[in-house]
């Protein structure tokens, strides 16, 4: 059984390992969490995102949630904000698609165009 004592160890370790920079100009990722998004699988998309970021120890990324992004049939939706750039909106996301977005967009900086709302609107 885990105890709160372990947190003290994590605290020590973390304080030594990283300098807690207050990163205001990092990347921001927002997942839509309205009823329609949650019903369409947004929680697993969000969990997948958190796991990826943790496992790969990617820093300077803030993950947030928001209410309805707008179009129910496009849920789960994920928005990526790079400082000073236009936001990229991904639609009909799955944990698998998130993996690619993390690698190509969040790590390497190039959006996965085929998952974006622009690409989806061309089809519809």
């Amino acid at each position: 059984m885990k105890t709160l004592k372990e947190l003290e160890e994590i605290r020590q370790r973390t304080l030594e390992a990283i300098n807690l920079r207050k990163d205001r100009n990092g990347i921001r990722v927002v997942v839509g969490m309205a009823t329609c998004g949650i019903a369409a699988g947004a929680r697993n998309v969000l969990t997948g995102l958190i796991d990826q970021i943790r496992d790969r120890r990617i820093q300077h990324i803030t993950v947030a949630q928001t209410g309805c992004i707008g179009v129910c049939r496009y849920e789960p939706m994920v928005e990526v904000y790079y400082p000073g750039e236009e936001k990229v909106t991904y639609v009909n996301m799955t944990p698998e698609k998130v993996e690619r977005v993390v690698t190509e967009h969040l790590v390497n900086g190039s959006p996965v165009t085929e998952y974006t709302i622009g690409a989806a609107e061309k089809i519809h």
Binding site: K2, L7, I10, R11, A39, L46, R57, V63, G67
Partner: protein, 183 residues
């Protein structure tokens, strides 16, 4: 909604949107009495009586992006299928308490789903909100209070990967210990 953990996530979004600083989630599985209760209390802006009445009606929402509020009516329908009921007590400016209770072993009762994921994602995505999650079963009680964790962690945010990872495991182990949220 496929499971109770998703209903919970959705209902807590209402508390978050109401500007809550503290959200309390209480789940009580009473095997002996075949009863499951799920209560959510927040200190958000609350609602007046007229709003509460309308909220139970599927064609009402105060949001402007879509005309129909679905979250609460969907939950009420699921609860009523299991011979239960939902009540909302709220005071404008003070907060809201949503209480629900229904048959634990009813054939239509949605499974618990991943309560650990729901609570973890709530904590991860809402750094400005404290959560108290209390889960009771016939064999014990599990409690998680982010205020306690914040006190220990000091300047290290709970969203830090190592901390959030610990929280997720803590919940999963804690629930296992009391046989909570199993199916």
């Amino acid at each position: 909604m496929q499971d109770l953990s998703l209903f919970l996530l959705d209902l807590v979004q209402n508390s978050i949107r109401a500007g809550a600083g503290l959200v309390k989630i209480d789940i009580h599985e009473n095997e002996k009495r075949d009863w499951l209760s799920i209560d959510i209390a927040d200190d958000g802006r609350g609602m007046d009586d007229k709003t509460i009445k309308m909220v139970m009606d599927p064609f009402y929402t105060t949001r402007t992006t879509r005309k129909v509020g679905l979250g609460i009516p969907l939950f009420v329908a699921a609860v009523e299928r299991c011979q239960g009921n939902v009540t909302i007590e709220s005071t404008a400016g003070r907060g809201t308490k949503l209480k629900s209770g229904f048959l634990l072993r009813h054939v239509d009762r949605p499974p618990f789903g991943r309560l650990d994921s729901t609570v973890t994602t709530l904590i991860m995505c809402n750094p400005g909100i404290d959560f108290v999650y209390c889960h009771k079963t016939d064999s014990g009680i599990f409690t998680l209070d982010t205020r306690e964790i914040r006190e220990i962690m000091g300047e290290i945010p709970l969203e830090h990967p190592d901390v959030i990872g610990w929280i997720e495991t803590y919940i999963r182990d804690g629930l296992k210990e009391i046989d909570g949220g199993v199916s």
